[in-house]
């Protein structure tokens, strides 16, 4: 089947407003879901789940959250890691302090706590922007880094802030093996990604983008900057918080505050820049890139080094990683601020017209 929309006429606005208005895209999406839910679990090894798929899914969720704020609402954040931490530690506290707290409940409550914190630390955005806001979000980062390390109540008096959680289950189904964890994360991600897509194509999403593109004009048509910005902070932090809780509960199972340091915040921001600001799909690309690149370099560089007779240390690999990330950030900001997602859609656009480009 050639990628074409010829002959696909829309007879209602409802049909035109679908997420994937082109039939081929819908099939592709369905295929992707089948592969993700059935194919991957059947074919993958435990290593792939632990090292790639589960981190990818969770970081994608976090990247979607950051993208809603940075890409859609135009508010910069350098403190996403802190909101992951808030989500993780809040979920932890809800699950150990309340008897019989179900896993999903703890995760969602963790997300809600992060959302509340997002509103608090997002409040400066009403008065300041750009790097001043960056500073406010960094303040959140350093404050929570400190709080989870030093305030013992948060970690149930565990030394060094290290906490752990085990025996995860959802309504009697255990979430223990890598496959179960993978499917659990995948299901959550699918629901949350769909919700994010819906938000961005409804009134609230348009309000965010309006604030991003031209805030004075947005106010004049009746958009309240306070509502738009704080709702973006809240929703974004909610996503990031749930991702943080998943990272702690499902991926790490025991963790300490360093898991959510400022480096994590930068990493999330980089995913959004590389993947594509203002694109839900871009969040996936960015997360995939950031998860896979270090593994790829770790395998490839020593091998390449051997070819030319050099031995490449792990330190050198990590330096190369730094350099490549740095260079890519600069490259994408200069050449394609909409990231891999835009490259993707440009490619699709070409394909739609191929082989007659005019």
């Amino acid at each position: 089947m050639i990628y074409r929309e010829n002959g696909q006429f829309k007879t209602s606005y409802a049909a035109d407003q679908q997420i994937f208005p082109i039939v081929q895209d819908r099939w592709a999406m369905l295929l992707l879901l089948v592969v993700a839910f059935v194919g991957v679990p059947l074919l993958s090894s435990e290593y792939l789940f632990r090292a790639i798929f589960i981190p990818f899914l969770i970081l994608s969720l976090a990247a979607i959250g950051v993208n809603l704020l940075v890409g859609y609402c135009g508010q910069i954040t350098l403190g996403a890691g802190a909101f992951m931490a808030v989500g993780a530690y809040a979920a932890y506290n809800f699950s150990i302090r309340i008897d019989g707290m179900p896993l999903l409940g703890a995760l969602l409550l963790g997300g809600l706590s992060a959302a509340a914190m997002g509103i608090v630390f997002g409040a400066p955005s009403l008065r300041v922007r750009g790097l001043y806001l960056a500073m406010a979000t960094l303040a959140a980062q350093f404050f929570w880094d400190w709080a989870f390390l030093r305030i013992k109540w948060f970690t149930n008096d565990a030394p060094s802030g290290s906490v752990s959680i085990s025996h995860l289950q959802v309504m009697g189904w255990p979430i223990e093996s890598p496959v179960e964890k993978y499917l659990f994360c995948l299901t959550l991600l699918a629901v949350f990604a769909l919700a994010a897509k819906n938000l961005t194509r409804s009134s609230i999403g348009r309000q965010w983008m309006a604030i991003r593109d031209m805030d004075v004009a947005a106010e004049v048509i009746g958009i309240r900057p306070m509502f738009a910005k704080l709702s973006a902070f809240a929703v974004s932090s909610f996503y990031v918080g749930v991702a943080g809780a998943l990272w702690g509960f499902v991926h790490l199972s025991s963790w300490e505050p360093a898991a959510f340091s400022v480096d994590r915040s930068f990493q999330l921001l980089f995913m959004v820049i590389i993947g594509g600001m203002g694109s839900i799909m871009g969040s996936f690309f960015g997360a995939a890139f950031i998860v896979v690149l270090p593994i790829f370099l770790n395998q490839m560089l020593p091998w390449l080094g051997e070819l030319v007779g050099l031995s490449i240390s792990t330190a050198a690999v990590s330096h190369a990683e730094f350099m490549i990330f740095g260079a890519l950030i600069v490259f994408f900001l200069i050449v394609e601020p909409h990231g891999i997602a835009r490259l993707w859609s440009t490619g699709k656009e070409k394909l739609r017209l191929w082989p007659f480009p005019h």
Partner: protein, 262 residues
């Protein structure tokens, strides 16, 4: 819809408005009114305070002194949100569209105040959110038809030529279904053909939708042709007010425009 165009009562009354930036006086004790259904023009040389005046009406600037009465409601301190809620819409001199969004989405933002679905409903495209979205989409399509921009509805506005962007800017304001529409140099930088199109749209809006219009324009031909009454500003002060003919005959206005010594 076509009816006799009847100029009604005063809908917008500006009383003694003064505005200053630091020590610079932009507007000094300006009063004038706008009647329902009329087309009211504000003219004056560059830097006369015309845009400041629109910014005061739409709540972007807060005047130090004065009062705005709109539809019988008194506003000592107008802000953008209150203005939008009351039914005041505007366009911008240097197009202020949302560059990253499509034409359709830009115009849809004009409906924001009328959309009531909550966040959760929107997130799950739930009944009310979905119905609302479709209903407003239909309204917006009417505006798109009216402005003859069907072919570009999915195009990001950043890619459009200037003249079309101006039209989208107008569309976004119209989507608010305003009682009064403020147009800040809607024809600046256009060629003759585009100006004719824009004039036609403005007259149609006024005629068919009964919208009151306040506009700033430099092209005197257009102003004299389409407006019912004209206010003339110079150096932040009002120097003339009346029908186009009366204003044209006003010696102070002539002096301001010919640049005689002050």
């Amino acid at each position: 819809m076509m009816g006799e165009r009847v100029i009604g009562d005063v809908i917008l009354d500006l009383r003694n408005i003064s505005l200053a930036f630091g020590g610079v006086k932009a507007l000094t004790e300006i009063s004038f009114d706008v009647r329902e259904h009329e087309i009211r023009a504000i003219i004056g040389p560059n830097g006369a305070g015309k845009s400041s005046m629109l910014n005061v009406i739409s709540g972007v600037y807060r005047p130090q002194q004065g009062e705005i009465v709109f539809h019988g409601e008194h506003f000592a301190r107008m802000n953008s949100y209150k203005a939008a809620k009351a039914g005041i819409a505007r366009t911008f001199q240097n197009i202020a569209l949302f560059k990253g969004m499509s034409v359709l989405d830009n115009i849809m933002t004009g409906r924001t105040l009328m959309m009531k679905a909550n966040l959760l409903q929107q997130a799950f495209w739930w009944g009310p959110a979905r119905r609302e979205e479709l209903a407003h989409r239909a309204k917006v399509e009417e505006i798109i038809d009216f402005l003859e921009i069907q072919h570009i509805r999915k195009t990001p506005v950043g890619r459009l030529p200037y003249g079309l962007q101006k039209r989208v800017d107008l569309g976004r304001a119209l989507a608010m279904e305003p009682r009064i529409l403020l147009l800040d140099e809607p024809m600046a930088g256009m060629n003759v053909e585009e100006k004719q199109d824009m004039s036609r749209f403005i007259l149609d809006v006024n005629d068919q939708m009964g919208t009151t219009i306040v506009l700033i324009e430099h092209d005197m031909g257009v102003v004299m042709d389409i407006s019912d009454r004209v206010v003339v500003l110079d150096y932040g002060k009002k120097i003339g007010d009346g029908s186009p003919d009366a204003v044209r005959a006003n010696p102070e206005v002539i002096q301001a425009y010919l640049g005689a010594s002050h």
